[in-house]
C-alpha cells in the first residue's frame, strides 16, 4: 500500500484545467529560483532580470509581441492538429519554407514591387508552409508513415535548404561573402503598427488566427469532427467521419499558419533572409499549444509567456552574464510541470491507506 495514491475522478475537473497551467508556472519559477541559486546567482535578482525587467519598457513590451506573433501562429495550427491526434512536429520546417517562399517573392520582384507584393508574399508563405506539411500528410495517408518522424526530419531538410539558398541563389549580389539576402524593400516589408517598437502587421495575422481557430473548433462541424476523432477514433469511424480529410486539413492548415509566421519574420523584424530566422519558434510552439490547453485563446496567453522566456533569456544574458541556453531549460521545465500537474484533472490525490470500497 503506497501512502500516496491517485484515485480516478468520475468526471474531469473543470477547475483543474485552469489551475494546472498556473501551478506549472509557479513550479517553474520555484525551480528557476533553485537553479539560479545553484549556479551562484542572486536568485531574486536573476528571476527579476529574466521575467520582469525585459517588459518594463515600451520597447520591451513591443519585443514581447514580436516574439509572441510567430509562436501564436504556429501553435494555433499545431493545436488543431493535436486535437485530432495529428502530431505535426514540423512547424519549424514549415516556418522556414514560408520564409523561403514568401521571402523569395520579395527577392524575385526586387525593384519592381507595388502594393500587391505583400499580399502575394503572405500567400506565398502560406503555400510554402502548407506544401512542406503536405509531405507528412501524404506519407501518412498513402504509406502509413508516422507524421511525427517525417515532419521532424523535414525540419532538418528545410534548414539545410535555407542554408543552401542564402549561400547561393538568395545571396545578396552586392553584398560581401555574408550568407544573407538583400534587405527587403519597403514594398516587401510589413508595416510597423506601433511606433517606437518592432510590432508589425503580423501581430494582426496572429490575432486573426486565434479568432479563426476558435471559430473552427467551437462553431463548425469540422471542429466537432476533429474533437471526436481525437477523443474516440472508433466512434468517428462509425459516424462516417472522413478521417483522411481531417489529416489533410489539419496538416495543411498548420503548415500554412507556420508558413505565414516564417514569412512574417523575414518581412518583419529581420527584413531579409538569413541562415537563422527562428530561435526554435516551431518547437516552442508545441509547448505553447499544450500550455494553452489546445485552445486558441489560451494559446495567445501561453505565447506571450513563452515569448517572455525568449526575451528574458536575452536580457539576462546581457544584464547578468547568464547563459542564453537557460531559455530552453525553462521552456522544457514548464512543459514537464504542466504535463505532470495535468494528472490532477482526471485524478484526485489521496494520502494514507485505501478506504473501504464505496
Amino acid at each position: 500500500m503506497s501512502l500516496i495514491r491517485l484515485e480516478p475522478r468520475g468526471q474531469a475537473s473543470k477547475t483543474m484545467v485552469y489551475v494546472t497551467p498556473l501551478l506549472a508556472v509557479a513550479l517553474t519559477l520555484l525551480s528557476g529560483f533553485i537553479l539560479f541559486m545553484a549556479m551562484g546567482f542572486d536568485p531574486l535578482k536573476a528571476l527579476y532580470s529574466f521575467f520582469v525587467a525585459p517588459v518594463t519598457s515600451v520597447r520591451g513590451v513591443g519585443e514581447l509581441v514580436v516574439k509572441a506573433t510567430p509562436l501564436t501562429l504556429c501553435a494555433v495550427g499545431l493545436a488543431i492538429g493535436f486535437r485530432a491526434n495529428v502530431w505535426n512536429i514540423g512547424a519549424e520546417g514549415q516556418l522556414t519554407l514560408g520564409a523561403i517562399a514568401g521571402g523569395g517573392l520579395a527577392l524575385a520582384f526586387y525593384g519592381e514591387g507595388g502594393w500587391w507584393l505583400l499580399p502575394l508574399m503572405v500567400i506565398g508563405g502560406a503555400i510554402g508552409g502548407a506544401a512542406w506539411a503536405a509531405v507528412p500528410a501524404f506519407l501518412r495517408l498513402r504509406f502509413n508513415a508516422s507524421e511525427i518522424l517525417t515532419s521532424l526530419m523535414l525540419n532538418y531538410v528545410a534548414l539545410l535548404l535555407l542554408s543552401y539558398l542564402v549561400h547561393g541563389p538568395y545571396r545578396d549580389p552586392d553584398g560581401f561573402a555574408f550568407p544573407e539576402s538583400r534587405l527587403f524593400e519597403a514594398d516587401a516589408t510589413l508595416p510597423i503598427l506601433w511606433a517606437g517598437t518592432r510590432v508589425h502587421l503580423g501581430a494582426l495575422f496572429a490575432l486573426a488566427a486565434v479568432a479563426g481557430g476558435w471559430l473552427l473548433i467551437a462553431r463548425t462541424f469540422i471542429g466537432f469532427q476533429i474533437k471526436v476523432i481525437g477523443l474516440t477514433p472508433a466512434a468517428a469511424g462509425y459516424a462516417g467521419f472522413d478521417q483522411k480529410r481531417i489529416v489533410w486539413l489539419t496538416l495543411l492548415l498548420s503548415g500554412a499558419l507556420a508558413g505565414i509566421a516564417g514569412m512574417g519574420e523575414v518581412a518583419g523584424p529581420i527584413g531579409q533572409i538569413t541562415a537563422s530566422i527562428s530561435p526554435g519558434y516551431g518547437y516552442t510552439a508545441i509547448i505553447v499549444a499544450f500550455l494553452g490547453r489546445l485552445h486558441p485563446v489560451g494559446i495567445l496567453l501561453a505565447a506571450l509567456l513563452m515569448a517572455l522566456s525568449f526575451i528574458g533569456g536575452e536580457a539576462a544574458q546581457i544584464a547578468m552574464g547568464l547563459p542564453k541556453a537557460i531559455t530552453g531549460v525553462f521552456q522544457g521545465m514548464l512543459l514537464f510541470f504542466l504535463l505532470a500537474s495535468d494528472v490532477l484533472i482526471r485524478y484526485r490525490v489521496r494520502f494514507g491507506a485505501r478506504r473501504a470500497a464505496a
Binding site: L6, P8, L149, T150, H167, A325, L339
Partner: protein
C-alpha cells in the same frame, strides 16, 4: 586498385558513424518492447554527450566519462518515466518535452566546454588481423565502444527472447492488463526499461562527443536521436535488424562525406540532407506494409496504464 584502397576506410567510417545510432536504437527498442514510446531520445543523447564530455575533460578518464554519460542519460529518462508512468502524462508530449529540455540543459552544462579538444579513444591494433588488406582496419581496428555497441545486439536479443525477464517485459508491452492480472509489476518493469533506454542513449551521445567528433557543440546530435527512433520502426522491433539499419544509415552519412571528397559539384547542404531524406524514405518503405507493422509492434505501445483504474 585505387577504388579497393578506399573501401577499407569507408567501411571503417561507416561502422563508427553507425555506433551512436545503434546504441540509441537498441535502448529505445527495449523501451518500446515494454510498451512505452519515448520520443526524448535526442534529448537524452545530448545530455549524455555533454556530461560524458565534461567529465572526461575534467578527469581525463574516458571510462568515467562513459559511465557518467550512461547515468546522466538514465537520470534524464527517469524524468520521462515518472511523468508518463506514475503521473500518467501523455507519452508523445512528454517525450517532446524531454527533447526540448535536453537541448537546453545540455547547452547550459556545455557552456564552458565549447571549443575544448579531446583526444578520442585509442583504436585497437591486433597484429595480423588489423593489418589485413581492405577489411582489417574496419573490422579489427575500431575502438572499444564500436565493439560494445555490436556486442549489445546479441545481448539484447538474448535478453528479450531467451530470458524470463525478457519474456515478462515483452508480455507487459503486449498486454499490460493481462500482465498485471498475473501479478507482474507493469510500472516497475517499464520504469527500468525506460532507464535502460536512457542509459543507452546517453552512451550513444557520449560516443559522438568523446570519440566520433571529439568536441562539444550545441545540438551536436543533429537529429540522430530521431533517426534512432525511425530505426526501431525500420527494424520492426528486432535487434539484429536495428544493427543492419544503423549500418545502412552510417553508410549514407559516410557516402555524403565521400561524394564531397570526390569533388563532385553538389552543394554541401544538399548532400547533408541525405541522411534525413533516407530516413523518410526508409520509413515510407517499411510502414507501407501495415500488416507487418501491426504484427510486430508491441500492442500496448504508447498506451497508458493505471493499476487502480
Amino acid at each position: 586498385m585505387n577504388d579497393l584502397a578506399l573501401i577499407g576506410p569507408i567501411l571503417a567510417a561507416m561502422f563508427a558513424a553507425a555506433t551512436p545510432l545503434l546504441f540509441a536504437a537498441l535502448g529505445e527498442l527495449v523501451v518500446e518492447k515494454s510498451g512505452v514510446l519515448n520520443l526524448g531520445v535526442e534529448g537524452m543523447m545530448l545530455v549524455g554527450a555533454v556530461c560524458g564530455f565534461a567529465v572526461t575533460v575534467r578527469t581525463g578518464s574516458p571510462i568515467t566519462g562513459f559511465v557518467v554519460a550512461a547515468l546522466a542519460g538514465a537520470a534524464t529518462a527517469s524524468l520521462f518515466a515518472v511523468l508518463t508512468l506514475f503521473l500518467l502524462a501523455n507519452q508523445v508530449a512528454t517525450g517532446l518535452a524531454l527533447t526540448l529540455f535536453g537541448v537546453g540543459l545540455s547547452a547550459l552544462i556545455g557552456q564552458g566546454f565549447v571549443g575544448i579538444p579531446l583526444e578520442g579513444l585509442p583504436k585497437l591494433h591486433i597484429p595480423g588481423l588489423t593489418d589485413l588488406p581492405v577489411v582489417g582496419q574496419a573490422l579489427f581496428g575500431q575502438d572499444i565502444m564500436v565493439y560494445l555497441a555490436v556486442a549489445a545486439v546479441p545481448l539484447v536479443h538474448l535478453f528479450l527472447y531467451r530470458t524470463r525477464a525478457g519474456l515478462v517485459l515483452r508480455a507487459v508491452g503486449e498486454n499490460h492488463t493481462a500482465a498485471h492480472a498475473l501479478g507482474y509489476k507493469v510500472l516497475r518493469i517499464r520504469f527500468f526499461a525506460v532507464l535502460f533506454g536512457g542509459a543507452m542513449a546517453g552512451l550513444g551521445g557520449a560516443f559522438l562527443s568523446m570519440d566520433y567528433t571529439p568536441m562539444w557543440a550545441e545540438n551536436m546530435t543533429s537529429g540522430r536521436g530521431w533517426i534512432a527512433l525511425a530505426l526501431v520502426v525500420f527494424a520492426t522491433w528486432k535487434p539484429v535488424r536495428a544493427m543492419l539499419g544503423a549500418w545502412l544509415f552510417g553508410g549514407v552519412t559516410i557516402l555524403q562525406l565521400h561524394v564531397q571528397g570526390l569533388g563532385i559539384d553538389v552543394p554541401s547542404q544538399l548532400l547533408s540532407m541525405l541522411p534525413y531524406l533516407a530516413t523518410v524514405l526508409v520509413l515510407v518503405l517499411i510502414s507501407r506494409d501495415v500488416a507487418r507493422i501491426r504484427l510486430n509492434a508491441p500492442a500496448c505501445l504508447g498506451k497508458l496504464f493505471h493499476p487502480d483504474a
